[in-house]
């Protein structure tokens, strides 16, 4: 990734880490997914949100 894009991603992930609105698990998974050369599908991101947000459903 080029400099500015990398800077944006780095700042974005830092922002997620301190955001109360974004669960830690989501921030971690996004960090890993967005660092890859090929971006993931939107469905995969949505699944990350589902998995990491709210209380687990019994």
């Amino acid at each position: 990734m080029a400099g500015i894009e990398a800077d944006v991603i780095e700042a974005f992930l830092e922002r997620l880490k301190i955001s109360d609105a974004v669960p830690v698990l989501v921030a971690e998974k996004l960090s890993s997914a967005l660092a890859k050369e090929k971006l993931p599908k939107a469905d995969e991101i949505a699944e990350m949100y589902r998995e990491g947000s709210g209380d687990p459903i019994a």
């Binding site: 990734m1 080029a2 400099g3 500015i4 894009e5 800077d7 944006v8 991603i9 700042a11 974005f12 922002r15 997620l16 955001s19 609105a21 974004v22 669960p23 989501v26 996004l30 967005l34 971006l39 993931p40 939107a42 469905d43 991101i45 949505a46 949100y49 589902r50 990491g52 947000s53 709210g54 209380d55 459903i57 019994a58």
Partner: protein
């Protein structure tokens, strides 16, 4: 990150064999059009990136690197077409050779392959923007905003930022859709509980009252309150004979289903709206095409540069016709997008109503089993599945086209026997024998427990979906804030640097120049100040030369932004040609002062411009490569200007006085013209700029003497003894040089005025060379690192100082 020590080109483009040794210094390659200069540019581009930007992208007319990269005589032997760069790591000084051949352009050989060099070479391969042609400069300035945004984003490597933004937006949309679906499920589950308990509102107290009524009948503990986790049927024992039934509750379920089938105004309105919108789509199939191709047209329109369509290569009558065609398509697609929004909204409303209906079927259907109507149960199940399939078809424009007729006729797809089925079911339920009050209470509590549990799960799913949606929104907002902030900062910085650079070049007439870069929705508007009269597009009023200057300044501002400290080499192919004559020195100063660590490799066909680069100190005296001509068989005819005194000496070593004399004269002509310009010497005006060497000699000699007098007078007026001594030293050098000229006057006259050297011997010519060298040295900075011509700052009659580019010489000319 790397700089070029040497360039070796074999059988590449128009070049058979060529060696250059820039030695990590800036170089100017000078030659007439068609002399092969751009072949060197292509070769560097190829060696660094494995590609030749001029042979890729739009407008290449079928020319490709693979087919046309090798020299025409070696077109069937791409392995022979090879470029080797000797490189130096600009930070750690490591050197190596980087080679590529056209046969395997994606692979390079690097020796030695140290990790640092490998990283630097890999980095360079990702930066084709290190090579810039005039065509590319213009695109930054004169492109339409959409195209400019693409070009600038590509240069700044920002595509991924937008790609990531779109990805997160899409994920957000998905979570929104899921949340909507769970909301409908909760509504259905609430309806089921409400119907079962025969309540109009699901208030905790009311639920508690009904449930406790049943519990009291069974002698069970009463509930103090009902919350989400409450087990409504705690303590209820299962009946040995089976589940039993709640007759009234079952009748309410069947009635609710029947009522929906009889009257469903929301569904009818939404289905009618959807059918009407789909009719419009059906009436004009090009709308769907317009939607499909919308993005393609959006991308293609800014790429239109001539009458050839950038999307399909079809040639049009003229460019305006092509542009109008694509604009028409875009306008149609905008209308189509509005229609698409209308379709999606009404389709979502229809889907929501269908989900509600399926919820009603789901609660009614078990009752058919209770009364022994297994066939009806299967029919209801089949209908529910049919509705689910219908609902799925509402999700995309393509599948919606298949359900258009159903929307108009019978969106419910009601089975023909449904009304009678429900009537008979109702009768059968009513006919069920009454149970004991205790049994009724037991079953009512069991069903209440089931439906309360389903509601709890539906609410949990909705809460989960809400949390996911909140997360998605927070992530998207955070990304937007970070990306927008970074881009705003970036563009502010680019705008500021661009304005600074341009002002630096045009300080004399546009000292208050400002530029405005405004990013918006995939576009990047550029407006520039025009002499304080307002902000306009660059093409509006500025001359072509000024526009070219802006292009280079914007490129430098952008590349400085993206590469920062890694910006160590740039190849400028004919980029500087149109910079106004009056601003060339300032342009050179800009490159030299703002980018002192950058090796510029510059091509131009303008002899005067090339010399100005040298005289300004941007290019040192050894770094001019002159291309004299080109032939198919031999490629470029070139020679490095280098130290021409050494070349002359070499000729003399071979007793080739005519050749040495020819070189001396040619170089004196060029040098004297430069020096005359640098010192603001006066010569008789000639419209063709063809000044006689003798006239230049005299003008330079006279002006130099005049300036030293001014310098002496200045030093005296300031009582500056150091300056006085410095001027005296310069005067002494001058006296010695002129004295030497006097001694060799006969030979110099022969050279300067008569071109008469044929009869001279080496013994005759050696002193002439030495004398001329001594004379030229009077106007040359003595620093080996600089060697620029000395020049006068200020204007004639108002001279300020006599200087050189590196500052080693700085003699005041102003009086106290």
């Amino acid at each position: 990150m790397i700089q070029l020590l040497a360039i070796r080109i074999d059988e590449f483009r128009g070049i058979r064999e060529l060696d250059l040794s820039p030695d990590c210094r800036s170089v100017v390659i000078l030659g007439p059009n068609g002399s092969g200069k751009s072949g060197v540019v292509d070769a560097i581009d190829f060696a660094l990136t494995g590609n030749v930007s001029r042979l890729s992208g739009e407008g290449t007319g079928g020319v490709s690197l693979a087919k046309h990269g090798p020299h025409v005589h070696r077109r069937d032997d791409p392995a022979a077409a090879k470029v080797t760069l000797t490189i130096r790591h600009a930070v750690n000084g490591q050197t190596g050779t980087l080679s590529r051949c056209v046969k395997t352009p994606g692979q390079f050989t690097l020796e030695p392959e140290t990790p640092e060099l490998l990283e630097a070479v890999t980095w360079a391969s990702l930066h084709p923007e290190l090579t810039l042609s005039r065509r590319e400069v213009v695109k930054y300035v004169n492109a339409e905003p959409g195209k400019r945004a693409q070009e600038v984003q590509a240069l700044l490597k920002l595509e991924r930022i937008d790609e990531t933004r779109r990805l997160l937006k899409s994920a957000l949309s998905k979570t929104s859709s899921e949340l909507k679906g769970t909301g409908t499920a909760v509504k259905n589950a609430e309806d089921a509980v409400r119907r079962h308990l025969d309540l109009t509102e699901l208030l905790s107290e009311e639920i508690c009252g009904v449930i406790n009524g049943y519990r009291a009948t069974l002698g069970l503990d009463l509930l103090e309150a009902v919350i989400a986790d409450t087990k409504l049927a705690t303590g209820v024992q299962g009946a040995p004979g089976g589940r039993g039934y709640d007759k009234l509750s079952a009748l309410r379920d069947v009635d609710a289903l029947a009522a929906f089938i009889a009257e469903h105004p929301n569904l009818s309105a939404a289905a009618a709206e959807l059918a009407a919108a789909l009719d419009l789509l059906k009436a004009d199939p090009t709308i769907l095409d317009a939607l499909k191709h919308r993005h393609l047209v959006e991308v293609g329109l800014p790429l239109v540069a001539n009458a050839v369509c950038p999307l399909c290569d079809q040639t049009w009558q003229d460019v305006s016709e092509l542009r109008a065609h694509l604009e028409g398509k875009l306008a149609r697609s905008e209308a189509a997008a509005t229609l698409e929004g209308r379709i999606r909204k009404s389709a979502e409303e229809v889907a929501e109503e269908l989900q509600r209906l399926r919820g009603l079927i789901q609660t009614a259907q078990p009752h058919s089993v209770t009364v022994g109507r297994g066939g009806d149960h299967a029919a209801l199940l089949e209908w529910s599945n049919d509705l689910a399939a219908f609902e799925a078809n509402l999700g995309s424009l393509e599948t919606l086209a298949q359900v258009g007729s159903r929307l108009e006729t019978n969106p419910l797809g009601t089975p023909t026997t449904l009304t009678s089925t429900l009537s008979e079911l109702r009768v059968d339920i009513e006919a069920l024998p009454d149970q004991s009050t205790a049994e009724d209470a037991r079953i009512a509590l069991t069903i209440a427990e089931e439906r309360w549990s389903q509601l709890r799960q539906a609410r949990a799913s909705k809460a989960k979906a809400t949390a996911a949606r909140t997360t998605a929104d927070a992530v998207y907002q955070a990304y937007n804030e970070v990306a927008d902030s970074a881009l705003t900062k970036l563009y502010d910085s680019v705008e500021s640097n661009f304005s600074d650079y341009y002002r630096q070049i045009n300080a004399d007439d546009e000292a208050a120049f400002t530029a405005g870069l405004a990013p918006s929705a995939g576009k990047l508007d550029l407006e520039v100040d025009f002499y304080g009269l307002g902000m306009f597009p660059p093409m509006a009023y500025h001359s072509e030369g000024h526009q070219d200057g802006m292009g280079v300044c914007l490129y430098l501002a952008l590349i400085d932004q993206v590469l920062g400290e890694d910006f160590r080499v740039a190849v400028l192919d004919d980029v500087v040609t149109s910079v106004d004559t009056n601003h060339r020195r300032q342009f050179c100063n800009l490159l030299k002062e703002v980018f002192p660590g950058v090796q510029f490799i510059i091509t131009t066909h303008d002899e005067v411009w090339a010399r100005q680069m040298q005289s300004s100190g941007l290019i040192d005296r050894q770094s001019l490569v002159r291309f004299h001509g080109w032939s198919v068989e031999g490629g470029p005819l070139y020679g490095s200007a280098g130290d021409f005194w050494k070349q002359i000496e070499s000729d003399l070593d071979r007793d080739d006085v005519p050749s040495a004399a020819h070189k001396l004269r040619r170089n004196l002509e060029a040098s004297m013209a430069d020096i005359a310009e640098s010192l603001q010497a006066r010569v008789v005006y000639r419209p063709d700029n063809s000044h006689d060497l003798g006239a230049l000699f005299n003008a330079v000699k006279g002006r130099h003497g005049e300036l030293l007098k001014k310098a002496a007078s200045s030093a005296n007026s300031w009582s500056n003894e150091v300056a006085e001594q410095q001027v005296e030293s310069l005067k002494a050098d001058r006296t010695q040089a002129i004295q030497a000229q006097g001694d060799e006057n006969w030979a110099i006259n022969a050279l300067v005025h008569n071109n008469d050297w044929a009869t001279m011997t080496r013994a005759d010519f050696d002193p002439v060379v030495e004398t001329c060298k001594q004379f030229v040295d009077l106007f040359t900075c003595s620093s080996a690192e600089c060697e620029s011509w000395i020049y006068v700052s200020g204007t004639p009659g108002n001279e300020e100082a006599l200087r050189c580019s590196c500052g080693a010489l700085n003699v005041n000319l102003r009086q106290k």
